[in-house]
């Protein structure tokens, strides 16, 4: 099974000749000048003011703190207002392993955040269970089983720069959203 899917992957890759943009861009209907400009303004505000929730379970949280520290300083992007309460946060950086017992808590935290909310899965553990994928009885194999994830950033743990890169990628995604226009 595994082999077959991989072979298909090889074929697909050969046909496409490599991807340039990660993910797919959704076409959004044009809403006229005013609506488009408003959208742009809102997206500009949102993308530049992502307030993360203080939520770290393990190792990746330390690199998240490093990113907040003086050397990497994510306040340059306006991310420094880390909120302890999910009600005021926009961005959930899932940093660290999520286990079965934590999963309902994570889901609840996500539900408590007001819209629009974004999720970054930081590190191998959150993307797929990482080092705890095999032989482990209590680890959730990827947080995307629990909550929708916008950006994945692999690494164990990723560098602070990689986290910043993920947040810039996140900003790019937000800038392509539409608030007043409905997607198809």
């Amino acid at each position: 099974m595994e082999e077959r899917s991989v072979k298909m992957d090889i074929k697909k890759r050969e046909e496409k000749g490599g991807l340039s943009f990660p993910g797919q861009l959704q076409e959004t209907p044009d809403g006229g000048f005013l609506v488009t400009k408003l959208d742009e303004a809102i997206n500009w505000a949102r993308s530049n003011s992502l307030w993360p929730l203080i939520f770290g379970t393990s190792c990746c949280a330390i690199e998240m703190m490093s990113a907040a520290g003086a050397k990497y300083d994510w306040s340059r992007f306006g991310f420094e207002v880390a909120r302890a309460s999910p009600r005021q946060a926009d961005l959930l950086i899932v940093s660290g392993t999520i286990v079965m017992k934590m999963a309902p808590v994570l889901k609840r935290l996500y539900d408590q955040m007001p819209d629009p909310k974004y999720v970054i899965a930081m590190g191998a553990c959150t993307i797929s269970g990482g080092p705890f994928f095999y032989n482990s009885y209590s680890v959730v194999k990827g947080v995307d089983h629990i909550i929708p994830v916008d950006v994945y950033i692999p690494g164990c743990p990723p560098r602070p720069e990689a986290l910043l890169h993920a947040m810039i990628t996140m900003q790019e995604k937000i800038k392509h959203e539409a608030y007043f226009r409905k997607t198809k």
Binding site: Y152, P154, G155
Partner: protein
């Protein structure tokens, strides 16, 4: 208060490195472990014999090596690498595969900007399409 006041007035003490702006000058340490790569030379040849030593050494099943039987010029059948599947989403960059590789085929890449919107893109096939084993590695 004296200390914070000192730093407030001495802006040259700021230690921040501006990441996206300094991308051109930003250089990782030469041993930095960013991702696993197979080295290819200009003739599109690599050194991986498909021996699966790295697959066995990997503690969390990140590497999957798929081999195929290939008939040599002298009529012997030989195992050859077809796909070196690498799950970057599970890799902990622990260096055990690099150490275990008998033919120095894989190295650690320095790239750390792996953010993607789709998890599937983190499953990679490391050998280039159409690449071949380098001459003389197996001996």
């Amino acid at each position: 208060m004296k200390l914070t006041g000192y730093y407030f007035t001495h802006l040259k003490e700021i230690v921040t490195e501006e990441y996206p702006e300094n991308r051109s000058t930003l250089k990782m340490m030469d041993r930095f472990r960013g991702e696993v790569l197979i080295q290819h030379d200009e003739k599109n040849e690599h050194r991986c014999t498909g021996c699966q030593a790295c697959e066995i050494a990997c503690p969390n099943g990140t590497i999957k090596i798929i081999t195929k039987q290939e008939i040599q010029a002298d009529g012997k059948k030989k195992k050859r690498l077809e796909a070196f599947v690498y799950h970057l989403d599970m890799c902990t960059l622990c260096n055990l595969c690099i150490v275990s590789c008998p033919s120095d085929a894989i190295v650690m890449g320095q790239n750390f900007e792996h953010s993607v919107y789709d998890k599937k893109q983190l499953k990679k096939i490391l050998n280039n399409p159409g690449s071949k084993l380098m001459e003389g590695v197996e001996e």
